[in-house]
């Protein structure tokens, strides 16, 4: 097999993996702060993808243009979901939280199925089939732009947590729930804000993803599992870990698709997950619990 082909596939895996990473970043941030595993994460991702598809079909808006409005809508949606539904569950046992989010996920997937039917939808923009050529390397334009958007969004989120007072307050809630309450932080509001930010990651990742794959309602559960794999591999709650995990999974899927069979690609992701859970359960970049 030609080395250029392997290199090109690897690069495509890295670029797609960054979009996966942004999606998983949302899950990781939510778990890191609220301590709830969002079992409806992939379903939220498919809703964002459909939003981009609908806006493109109706108004001819490029998915990159709708990232911010879809993101804003998802922020509100995420805020309400946490404040209204999930918040009463944060002190309940894990299986109870799981049930709640599974119910939400079932509603989301099937509402999409009712509205859009089972057929795959996509967007077609003129730069989708173009690529940059650097010597023998081919950089797919849509993939490159999607990866850049994911990186910018992730960087903005890092900056928010690092440099703003609100970000610091959220980190305080994650570090010490009781302590945050004692010093007078409005934990409920901050949790809802965090969930909203996680939803924004999903929205932007979803808008970028429609340029790379077709969307069907059935993608939701698959993306939920993918997001789990990525954050566990990278370290649940670790922000750089989510991006690293996304890239690793993106590359391993791309190479498995090339060398073995496209249908076997997620077997490698799950295999990697099992290995990481057994050898380094806190994830590659996670802190020891």
């Amino acid at each position: 097999m030609a080395p250029e082909l392997i290199l090109n596939v690897t690069i495509a895996g890295v670029l797609g993996g960054l979009v996966y990473g942004l999606m998983a970043l949302g899950l990781s941030v939510i778990f890191g702060v609220v301590r709830v595993v969002n079992f409806a994460h992939g379903e939220m991702m498919t809703i964002a993808m459909y939003a981009a598809v609908v806006l493109f079909a109706a108004l001819k808006l490029d998915p990159f243009l709708v990232m911010l409005p879809v993101g804003a809508a998802f922020f509100v949606f995420g805020y309400i979901m946490q404040a209204g539904f999930i918040n009463p569950f944060i002190t309940r046992p894990e299986h109870s939280q799981f049930m709640l989010l599974v119910a939400v996920a079932i509603i989301m997937v099937n509402a999409l199925l009712v509205v859009f039917g089972p057929d795959a939808r996509n967007v077609q923009v003129d730069y989708q089939l173009e690529s940059f050529e650097i010597g023998k390397l081919l950089l797919d334009k849509a993939r490159l732009y999607a990866a850049i958007a994911a990186l910018v969004a992730a960087a903005a989120l890092f900056a928010f947590f690092k440099f703003t007072l609100m970000g610091k307050a959220i980190r305080a809630c994650a570090d010490n729930y009781m302590g945050a309450k004692v010093v007078g932080l409005d934990v409920k509001h901050l949790y809802a804000l965090t969930f909203g930010l996680g939803a924004v990651c999903v929205a932007i990742a979803g808008c970028a993803m429609v340029l790379l794959v077709e969307v069907t309602p059935a993608l939701g559960p698959a993306y939920t599992l993918l997001a789990f794999v990525i954050v566990i591999v990278g370290g649940l709650g670790s922000m750089p870990g989510a991006l690293l995990g996304g890239v690793l999974i993106g590359v391993s899927e791309a190479l498995a698709g090339l060398f073995i069979a496209p249908s076997a690609k997620s077997m490698f992701s799950f295999g990697l997950l099992i290995l990481v859970l057994l050898l380094r359960p806190q994830g590659l970049l996670g802190k020891k619990a």
């Binding site: 595993v37 299986h95 119910a103 039917g117 859970l277 057994l278």
Partner: protein, 322 residues
Amino acid sequence: MNRAHIGLALLAALLLALPAFAGSYALSVATLILYFAYTGQAWNVMMGFAGQLSLGHSLYVGVGAYAAGAIFFHYGIGPWAGLWVAILLCVALGMVIGFLAFRFGISGVYFALLTIAFAEFTRIGFDHFDWVGGPGGLFLRVAQRDTWDIAAFRGPPLMYYYTMLVLTGGAFALCSFLLKSRAGYYWQAIRENEEAAQALGINSFRWKMYAVALSSAMTAVSGVFFAFYYNNLFPEQIFHISRSIEIILGPIIGGVGTLFGPILGAAVLTLLSDGITDLLAALGWEFPGIKQVFYGVVLLLVVMFLPHGIWPPLARRLGLSA
């Protein structure tokens, strides 16, 4: 005899007599309810009793079904021998997962995700496992369905109904015995506070392994039943995470950790799903997905307003202890 015993005896009598007045459709629904009740009870041993959240129980159903199904398909070895192969394989698998997880101190969400990973890994593996038909599925020969052939586990729907009834009753009896035995108290102690349990001298690793072994063995039996009841197996269907969710919805809706919760939950969910189908058919709303939307809304309401499931509050209302 207290009220609970009388209630149970009445329920058992009703279920034994059910085929006399139920039609073939009602009987198949009842068989399905019992199947979920039994499998839910098996899951409940691990989660409800010992506190280990498994979201990958379809793994044991699938491996059990494929083990017994494949040796029947290839070598003509019947389900009674296949049952032991299935149980041994599933227990071995459960022990490997349990050993790896508990040795490395993996618990809670991480354990749950590990169980999903193993189930999904196996699902994709079976898709590429040609000896059992790969994604095209494994089909067992369907024999004539009018005589009871217990040795080959072939017979009319009635036979499958009674098999499931015996299994569900047996699992109920076993669990109610276990819950009042040393094992049950150890498991509940581990569930409530593992560190405290260990401080009291309970070898939590060993007892969690026992729970996994028992739960996976019981679930393997469900798998063997599944193989010989439906006669066709597809990795995509049997190992899928939605199957695992289906298994655990019953006990969660009914009441985790209670003896009667899995049975009640299975009945409520199966009848609910049937009822929604009928209702939507009557309204003429028959497009894909609409049924599951309603189902999801009901689940959401139950989990929001009945945090411990349906059975504990109902049992209090009936003057029984859960």
